[in-house]
């Protein structure tokens, strides 16, 4: 099968799943009577609608090629950082540092992927961002909570720019025997992470009893996690044919990805709940903000990238 055939099979499969989900949602909507159930079903249907749109946007970007994909992820970084800084306010003295983060660091990081400068891409934000941003903040001569403010900004850009940029960075890996198919690997990664989120949600709603971390994330249950993690690992193994991995390798990598995604969801949930919020925003109907969808992606992406690079790339 050529890369193009694989892409069409993949899109066909995802479309079929979405049609099925829309049908189920429509049926449930016509059958429920109880008010509390109705809220759950309405949220479910809003999520499915948002999925259609997200899949469409990603499919178009992949179809248009590398630059479109990079621009798309640059906007994802932009919107998640916007949500992060909105919920974690700094002081007016950080204004210049924040402007730099939004308008210079985001384009620069994605530009480095575009020109395939791997060495600078990996250290740009952890080294240069780390040193530059507090240097700009300090010029405002405001020492109140200075370390805390710098930490917030650095943490925010690490998650929203650095980690997220590792998703499209998969395009620059040179994997023997897999040339020209890296976009499929990118799709595979997103599929595994999002399948895990969706399956955890479904297993949690159907079987969930034992809360896993009631303070940090009240909706997460042991049953949901186990079902979702195993399910997504199986999905990952079953989709081995679009990756450079064998079925067993695919299962292993999918399992690590799912685990990291779960931890990312927990950590970012703790961040948003520490400031008293339930969602990061309202951008994606039914899901909350952009960060509510990207939390697991951001934690899983660098690990997935480096595992693939270390074991499979040149």
């Amino acid at each position: 099968m050529t890369a193009q055939d694989k892409f069409f099979w993949l899109m066909g499969g995802i479309t079929a799943i979405l049609i099925l989900a829309s049908l189920v949602g429509w049926l449930l909507d016509h059958r429920v009577k109880h008010e509390t159930q109705r809220v759950v079903i309405e949220n479910l249907n809003a999520r499915v609608r948002a999925w259609w749109i997200m899949v469409l946007i990603f499919a178009i970007a992949f179809f248009l090629g590398k630059i479109a994909t990079l621009v798309l992820f640059a906007f994802v970084s932009f919107f998640t950082l916007r949500e992060f800084i909105t919920l974690n306010p700094t002081r007016p003295g950080d204004h210049r540092a924040l402007s730099l983060a939004f308008f210079i660091l985001i384009p620069a990081q994605y530009y480095l992927i575009a020109i395939e400068w791997y060495a600078l891409f990996t250290i740009f934000i952890p080294v240069y961002g780390f040193l530059l941003l507090p240097s700009l903040s300090v010029l405002a001569e405001d020492i109140e909570n200075f370390l805390e403010r710098c930490a917030k900004i650095q943490w925010g850009i690490m998650v929203t720019i650095y980690c997220v940029s590792h998703v499209p960075a998969l395009l620059l890996l040179a994997i023997p025997g897999y040339a020209g198919q890296n976009a499929l690997l990118l799709f595979y990664f997103l599929l595994v992470v999002q399948a895990s989120d969706v399956l955890q949600y479904i297993f949690g709603k159907l079987l969930g009893k034992t809360k896993i971390a009631p303070v940090v994330s009240p909706a997460k249950t042991v049953e949901g996690f186990v079902g979702g993690a195993l399910g997504a690992t199986l999905v990952g193994a079953g989709m081995w044919w679009i990756t450079p991995f064998t079925p067993l390798q695919a299962a292993g990598i999918a399992f690590v990805t799912v685990l990291m995604g779960f931890l990312g969801g927990l950590v970012l949930s703790a961040v948003k709940r520490s400031v008293g919020a339930k969602d990061w925003g309202t951008m994606i109907e039914g899901h909350g903000g952009m960060m509510d969808r990207m939390d697991s992606v951001s934690f899983a992406a660098p690990i997935f990238f480096h595992l693939t690079r270390y074991f499979f790339a040149l």
Binding site: L81, R82, T86, P92, S99, G281
Partner: protein, 199 residues
Amino acid sequence: MWLSHLLIGLVRLLIGASPRWMGSKPSQVQRIYFANHTSHIDTLALWSALAPHLRVRTRPVAAADYWNKDPIRRYVALKGFNAVFIERACTDPSVDPLRPLIEALEHGDSLILFPEGTRSAQTLPAPFRAGLFHLATRFPKVELVPVYLENLHRCMPKGTFFPVPLICTVRFGAALKRIAHEDKTAFLERAREAVVKLA
């Protein structure tokens, strides 16, 4: 106009500026929206938060000493967001600085007004200037809708030239009740309270 779409697109990208109708509903009724003023983007933020069919009949009031200063700013203000200019420091006693606003209201347009007269560094508004009172007395039928712009002071504080993208919301409150024979000070304080209550 392409410039309006560009400006609104930029505002949405930078700050979202989504409306929250808390006490009033979007309506074609002639209105004066009055809001707290903390940044240069305020005017556009409030204007973008209105639905397109309301936006075409709503004109923001802009300071002439800033927006009418050079041809580029004038072009953006007039073509971009259909502004009404007001002279903030009017020295000629024979000229009524509210004249252009009165004409716009007589023409049936709604207005966006920042009654503090200047941008403040605080989240809560400074005392209001008298213009809102004079317009309210002269046009008793026009609805006076208080608006609170949240977070905008963080986006672009006074003295900065670049905005920082943050999610900002525009909260529309219930229209101010009209009280017959209310004096100027009491009215202006009540109007200010209505904005503060939305904070």
